[in-house]
Subunit: 576 residues, 2 copies
């Protein structure tokens, strides 16, 4: 590729909303350009990087025995209705009707589509397992796009779906995909932490995120020093140490408490520890139910865990007025004790208690009335919960579940994920079954596996850069070599032209800066664009008997390589 | 790939709506599966074919200097409004709003998007020309999908857009793309006719379709025997021979004519030739104007030509009632003579006369009243037209424009097209300009170039098949070799396994039928799936010292190839 002919060239200015280095550099170096918020053009250089990432992913997926195919991106909405995902995916799902009135979802993920195509065939246990995947556009109606390619509204995803006779067989594939992902990200130069995570609207019982540690990321996770336990904050478990659970239960006591509404106000007023206080948080779920989350005062409620506990896909905080009128309680003085007595007719209330409530005796907290508190509140004696579960948010410094190793907190970018789906889809979609060896129909046991291609590209850019620009790993660089001629000397230009022709013919990917520009400007663009190797042809280099060779990576000094040795040295560089 | 692990296997049944052989075979052989009308899954085999076609197209586009990139498929609707294509594309365009209220078109083609990304950069004449292209999903809200992959609602298209300083430079690119297309379709085994065609809602002044002659196609075109002139029926020009234009003009005469409403009724009643009759056809256009098309009686009106003549993007036949109430005329007796006298207030009428009217003197036809006709009607004397143009439909047997060579008619599938766009987009979209060598802004001169990938695949299937199934050309076959083991003999299976492993390792694409099935069933699937070469390992073949070698193409007899010679023979086969 000749730079003179390239669309589009480097830019000085930076998008006004660009806070991340990957966003700035990919824009300035001419790799991407925003079409509108969250939707990007991949310019020729960026498209080459994206295609290289796709090829790495394809190679490893194929090597793992997965089969590439392609589904339409307009999914019949009826399929999403079969699994109720038209609701659970919420506002992120875009919907459209065609002129005949057929309704479609713009695919955000494609579980239903893949189950649907599979159930069109008569699948026998002998055909199983298989893992089918695609590279296809995905749509997310994100409220807030951010960070260039990191959180967008339209992107290419590699999404794979595996079908199995049973869980045991699935687990082999889960492991295989895990290993394939490790190899993929290694090839792409990315170091991943694999963290347990939440399945969101995908469904299933467990899943893992592949996270690249980075301040630019949105995935907060907790991990033991040795890395053996790593989990997204949404699902991280921890040790809830016992406080005073062997104390005798004292008599429940109602006391006047003219205090403010916060937990700290309670601590100050009663001069008792925070952990002994009961924390009560009220939500409203997607079915209109009130959810009262009760937890030990020194913990916070984890809304994702709470959602799973009550099987809701959406929660919002209840308003003060709702708490007063519908629950007959008082913000800042809510209590599980006797709260059902004040419920308005027709109001449904689910009380969810965190397991930490069992670590405390004689707790204190509100009494469902302004400026009245209860002392010596004990679960089981004074109140019961509808659901007892782990709904607590892990924090840095807490101990792992076994109570042994402290948890550290880190942040990163989720570049891939693998999901156990189990029977989540095959139970909901009729006919999603295979014929077993006795001739009976059995539901598929499933898994799914995603990698965001554009986000992976942004992550590489976020990790590999310096103050002068991008520093692409060889495997994903748009071109191997940035070849520049310096000056207008005819011999120089002829030699550079010849070199471009010969190297290209021998399979080296050469980006040739053939412009009539000052050397400084060419070197600046070379650094900004970030090809791994820069070759410069100048009068000086020719006098010294060759071309100037300089790696883009840190600490590389320019050296002269004789023309006769160039090809060997290049082959060596590319092979290693 | 092992057949035992393939999703999805061959099918006996045929889709109920499948009338085309390509549709039937691609379905039965497990290449595609309908999701819903006009939207298809590409199953693993079909996806491989599609990817191979993409690679052939990419190779030739890159060789021609075009630069691959990628645009979002949700196009800001405001861009389509800039060029008025949100109207001119009509119902085929699907539109959607996101939850913030931003409106989008689902891209049918991407001229606006590519102009938009280009105008974001400061382009100098030195940066020009460039040709940027993508492989991306396209959406068409077709009223009627048909023929499997031939006319679908969602498909991958290679669409390219070139930007130039002027027409002369553009013409070089047009030729380059023409030549690239010839090479692409040659590599894919397709013989194309290049026909002049209509630009539809793309715009511009001229364009060419690449058509593969086939009964399955929808492109009707006319061509001289020597192939030098070939044009789609929408635009085909022809020689309108003179009839009696040197006759004296006789006096206009009104006569009673109690006759039926058809042209034939007129011929019979007056006992005059059809060509002497005036044919009048009334349409209503998208702006609500009445369009009266007047033409020599032995010709038909070409609606596409008529649309261009009046600059409309939609025409529908006027209803009888509209002709009576709004035009004050009478169906079957319409005449350009005096029709303006009967127009209702506010009705806009455009009279378009075909150039053939000049070849006739003393014509006859209606008089805008039931059972009244006019004789000796002469254009210029008795009536005038607002627009005089070629609006006639060419037919087989007519002569080419020079009046020399007869036109033959043929039908085919449009697999690609190239369009001159000129200033069509750059004049409508503000800022679509480059800086010329004097520092002035100048609009881009443009072209665009499309290839439908799925349709190309269907066309290859339509052309290459026999009574037993598909017969893929080597370049696009999903695998080079269909390897089958016959029987359960351990030695046979071991040898076949070994062969599969070795050939695959040496880069041959092998589809290995390792199923425990009868030979007949394996051979049937081999024929149906259509890989170019079938290799069979059986006890018999091993006794004879090798494997059975049989080409899928017509007339090939099975022969035994010694194992020691197989690799050489295969390399030879693949290279040629």
């Amino acid at each position: 590729m000749r730079y003179s002919k390239l669309f589009a060239k480097t830019q000085k200015e930076v998008p006004s909303d660009a806070s991340l280095i990957s966003h700035k550099l990919l824009h300035q170096a001419g790799y991407i350009r925003e079409s509108n918020a969250g939707r990007y053009f991949f310019l020729p250089l960026g498209n080459r990087v994206q295609n290289k990432i796709i090829n790495v992913v394809r190679e490893e997926m194929d090597a793992a025995g997965a089969q590439e195919m392609l589904a339409p991106v307009l999914h019949p909405l009826s399929l999403w209705q079969e699994t109720n995902r038209d609701n659970s995916a919420g506002f992120e799902l875009m919907k459209i009707e065609d002129r005949r009135g057929a309704a479609f979802a713009l695919g955000g993920t494609a579980e239903e589509m893949f189950v649907d195509v599979v159930r069109k065939f008569q699948i026998s246990y002998k055909d199983l397992p298989f893992n089918i995947y695609q590279f296809s556009l995905k749509f997310r109606d994100e409220m807030r796009a951010r960070g260039g390619l990191l959180r967008v509204r339209e992107f290419i995803m590699k999404d794979a779906y595996s079908f199995h006779t049973n869980e045991e067989d699935f687990k082999l594939e889960y492991k295989k995909m895990w290993d394939a992902y490790v190899r993929i990200f290694e090839k792409l130069g990315l170091k991943c932490v694999v963290v347990e995570s939440d399945n969101g609207y995908i469904g299933g019982d467990y899943c893992h995120e592949f996270v690249v540690v980075s301040e630019a990321g949105e995935s907060r996770f907790l991990m033991t020093e040795d890395g053996e336990y790593a989990a997204h904050e949404d699902v991280a478990k921890f040790y809830k140490e016992d406080k005073n659970s062997s104390d005798d239960e004292l008599d429940l006591e109602e006391v006047d408490a003219v205090r403010g509404n916060t937990m700290e106000d309670g601590v100050k007023f009663h001069n008792l520890p925070l952990w002994q206080q009961i924390k009560d948080v009220v939500f409203v779920d997607d079915k209109g139910r009130y959810i009262l989350a009760v937890i030990r005062g020194d913990f916070d409620v984890n809304e994702v865990k709470l959602k799973h506990a009550v099987d809701a896909y959406d929660l919002r905080p209840a308003h003060d007025e709702e708490i007063r009128s519908d629950l007959g309680s008082e913000p800042g003085f809510i209590s599980p004790v006797g709260i059902r007595n004040g419920l308005k007719d027709g109001v449904e209330l689910v009380i969810v208690g965190d397991t930490s409530l069992r670590t405390v005796k004689n707790a204190y907290g509100g009494a469902n009335a302004k400026n009245v508190d209860l002392l010596n509140v004990n679960i089981g004696r004074d109140y019961n919960v509808d659901i007892e579960a782990d709904i607590a948010m892990a924090e840095a410094g807490f101990l792992d579940e076994a109570g042994k190793r402290p948890l550290n907190e880190d942040k990163g970018i989720e570049v891939g994920n693998i999901f156990q789906l189990g029977y989540h889809y095959s139970n909901k979609m009729s006919g999603a079954s295979f014929v077993d060896d006795t001739g009976m129909g059995q539901p598929f046991y499933m898994g799914c596996y995603g990698i965001g291609i554009g986000r992976t590209m942004a992550t590489i850019a976020e990790v590999f850069n310096d103050e002068n620009g991008l520093v692409w790993p060889k495997n994903v660089a748009p071109f191997h070599v940035y070849l520049a001629s310096v000056g207008n000397d005819e011999e120089v230009i002829a030699k550079a032209d010849e070199l471009y022709k010969n190297l290209t013919a021998s399979g080296v990917e050469v980006f040739y800066d053939d412009r009539d520009e000052r050397p400084g400007s060419k070197f600046k663009d070379a650094d900004l664009m970030g090809m791994p190797l820069r070759l410069v042809v100048s009068s000086r280099s020719l006098e010294a008997g060759g071309v100037e060779w300089k790696l883009r990576s840190a600490g590389s000094e320019p050296e002269i390589v004789a023309l006769s040795e160039l090809e060997t040295k290049l082959a060596d560089f590319l092979a290693n």
